[in-house]
């Protein structure tokens, strides 16, 4: 069981952003994808989920043998993919609770029972230390950065996908919020779920320890290793990667 990205090339408008990217995430594993700004991290996340603004010109996205490269975003979600957005959309007029129920029901044959849904929501809100009043607010309207990220992880918890991409979930969080969100993510890790944690900085990786670290530059993965690779990046920044890559190309 795995999410496989094979030789992925992606265009946005007239620019090629991903240029032959390969990545495998097996269920039960947590991978970190790091890279400087503009390296294509968010493009990969959006392409995995099927954002129509990103055009795949070559390569494949395969989940458990099923080719999802051409699938609509909702089919991908129902197949078991999830993304926590860096900048989640605001949905005015739709409460968090209503949205969650609609999303949970979208992935089920039969609508979830009101009681079961309530219990599930309460349990997950406790996990993320979310105030009960939160669910009556319109989704992401007037939310602080921390509230938006908690709402994303709450959706992750409610939808229980097989693979989750966290796109810069640590950005805009103070240390306390980062810890709450990380605790939530850690509680959701397990044999049945794979994670791809996309980040520019290493600080989230201190809480959510990955088994594998990939470094991305100019639309490709250029370095791979264990968690120690993240520590190197923390210490030395991205320049040494860039220099090494340039040297080996020459």
């Amino acid at each position: 069981m795995s999410l496989e990205i094979q030789n992925l090339h992606v265009r946005v408008e007239d620019r090629e952003i991903l240029r032959g990217l390969d990545l495998n995430v097996a269920q039960g594993e947590t991978h970190a994808l790091m890279g400087p700004n503009g390296s294509g991290k968010s493009t990969l996340a959006n392409t995995i989920m099927g954002n129509p603004n990103y055009e795949v010109t070559e390569g494949k996205i395969v989940l458990d043998g099923e080719d999802l490269t051409e699938a609509d975003p909702d089919e991908r979600a129902r197949a078991g993919l999830f993304m926590a957005f860096q900048y989640p959309a605001t949905i005015p007029g739709v409460s968090v609770a209503n949205f969650l129920r609609t999303a949970v029901n979208a992935g089920r044959e039969e609508a979830i029972k009101v009681k079961e849904f309530g219990q599930l929501m309460r349990r997950n809100m406790e996990l993320l230390r979310i105030d009960p009043d939160f669910t009556r607010r319109y989704l992401n309207e007037g939310f602080s950065g921390g509230e938006k990220k908690r709402a994303e992880i709450l959706q992750l918890a409610m939808l229980a996908p097989r693979f989750a991409v966290l796109d810069e979930t640590d950005s805009g969080l103070d240390v306390d919020a980062l810890r709450v969100v990380s605790d939530g993510v850690n509680a959701l890790r397990g044999e049945e779920r794979g994670f791809l944690v996309i980040t520019h900085y290493t600080r989230i990786l201190r809480y959510v320890r990955p088994e594998f670290v990939h470094v991305m530059l100019d639309g490709r993965i250029v370095r791979e290793g264990g968690p120690e690779l993240a520590d190197d990046l923390e210490e030395k920044g991205y320049d040494w990667v860039r220099e090494e890559v340039a040297a080996s190309a020459a």
């Binding site: 954002n51 603004n53 975003p73 959309a89 949905i91 005015p92 609609t102």
Partner: protein, 432 residues
């Protein structure tokens, strides 16, 4: 015997009607509302026999207004005739009057004459004059001072056959410190042919009165032309929340005016429209502040499908002497079809100082990023659009503060969206 005040008023209005041409409303830019397709000569008032009971009302009416025991009163006019008029005995015992306007002129002439057309004039044009000259049936409501009604007073104007010309007039007076909810529904089944609703609505809130007012217009898919004027006057320290809901009509031209006429008066005006097919909607609202300090807040939201057109012009006018007025107006429209056209024109006339007034208007489309976001949660494209449209309207719908009516409006919007489903999905997919 000298002619009565009503006869004099009708005679004067008739002169204006005969003098005035059929109007065309032109606005800067491309907007024109014309009645050149209306065959006025072929329409006439249609009489209907009164019904013996609520159960004899059509399904359309009963399903829209809900059960009688949830109302303080119900007046239903079909075509030119009052077919049903009922008041809850409890409300009547408190001195509430709720009766066809024709009957009110006979039974409470002095009271009616004091208020009748205080803020309306036959001189405003051909159709206001027609309404003033020809109205029949109608509705009159009077809530005595300090009386509080829990349940709504409900008026229905029904057009149930093509060829109908309906001249409608509702007059309401809510006494000082009284509280009530008023609903007026304009309804028709899907008629095969033309009809006209020429309407007048006037409501006066006396000092400290509190009123929730809702208008619901759903003329179905037939060729109903609606030319109406609705005006609400709010006296000192009184408060009115007015929510007009436009869910359909072949051609509609309405003026909706709300006047804060006394110090401390406050108005909340939240409107909604949803147009489809080749419907044409032309709304002109005025928030007139005659005294200060007064407060106002106007929000209009619309969505358009098919090749429908909607124009909303919202004017805030603060006259000399209305210092310390604070008022806001916003208008938004959402296009759900490439062929639909929306026009939003907020404007402002301020003749005094020390006021705050602001306005803004947007015309937008369904936000692609929001659709994508919801789809990544497993929600289909069409459901995502539906959620966005419903969510967009929700702040207005919830202002109704009337669960039965809210459910009715949400249901009708969902029906309209599902009817337009293929067209909307195609449009969204094309743009992404």
């Amino acid at each position: 015997m000298p002619p009565s005040a009503l006869e004099e008023s009708r005679a004067a209005a008739l002169e204006v009607f005969e003098r005035e041409p059929v109007p065309t409303w032109r606005r800067s830019g491309f907007w024109t509302t014309t009645l050149r397709h209306l065959r006025l000569d072929e329409l006439e008032p249609r009489r209907h026999e009164p019904l013996g009971s609520y159960d004899e009302l059509s399904d359309l009416v009963r399903e829209s207004v809900g059960p009688l025991d949830a109302l303080s009163g119900l007046i239903v006019q079909s075509g030119a005739s009052t077919v049903f008029a009922w008041i809850d005995p409890e409300a009547a015992a408190q001195g509430v009057l709720f009766t066809p306007l024709e009957r009110a002129w006979e039974e409470h002439g002095e009271l009616v004459e004091r208020w009748y057309m205080r803020r309306l004039s036959a001189e405003e044009g051909k159709f206001p004059a027609a309404t003033a000259a020809f109205w029949t049936g109608g509705a009159f409501l009077h809530v005595p001072p300090e009386v509080r009604l829990e349940k709504p007073l409900q008026v229905v104007y029904l057009i149930d056959e093509p060829g109908t010309a309906q001249y409608a007039h509702t007059l309401g007076v809510v006494g000082h410190h009284a509280e009530c909810t008023v609903r007026e529904y304009d309804l028709a089944p899907d008629l095969d042919g033309q009809a006209l609703h020429s309407g007048a609505f006037e409501l006066y809130l006396e000092e400290g009165a509190q009123v929730r007012l809702a208008h619901l217009q759903d003329w179905g898919a037939g060729e109903v032309h609606d030319i109406s004027t609705k005006r609400v006057e709010i006296a000192r320290d009184a408060h009115c929340s007015w929510v007009p809901i436009h869910l359909g009509g072949h051609l509609t031209r309405q003026e909706l005016d709300i006047i804060t006429a006394g110090q401390g008066s406050d108005m909340r005006h939240n409107g909604l429209y949803f147009t489809e097919g080749d419907e044409h909607l032309d709304l002109f609202t005025t928030d007139l502040h005659e005294q200060g300090p007064t407060t106002g807040d106007t929000v209009w939201k619309g969505a358009l499908t098919g090749s429908s057109r909607a124009s909303y012009e919202g004017l805030i006018k603060i006259v000399k002497g209305a210092q310390d007025t604070h008022t806001y107006l916003q208008t938004h429209s959402m296009l759900l079809s490439p062929k639909a056209k929306a026009d939003s024109i907020p404007s402002l006339i301020v003749e005094t100082d020390n006021v705050s007034a602001s306005h803004g208007g947007t015309v937008g489309e369904v936000d692609e990023e929001s659709v994508f976001y919801m789809m990544t949660r497993g929600i289909s494209r069409m459901d995502a659009v539906r959620i966005l449209v419903e969510g967009y309207f929700e702040p207005v719908v919830s202002k109704l503060d009337d669960p039965a009516l809210e459910a009715l409006v949400r249901g009708r919007i969902a029906e309209k969206l599902s009817k337009a489903e293929d067209e909307v999905a195609e449009y969204i997919a094309e743009r992404s």
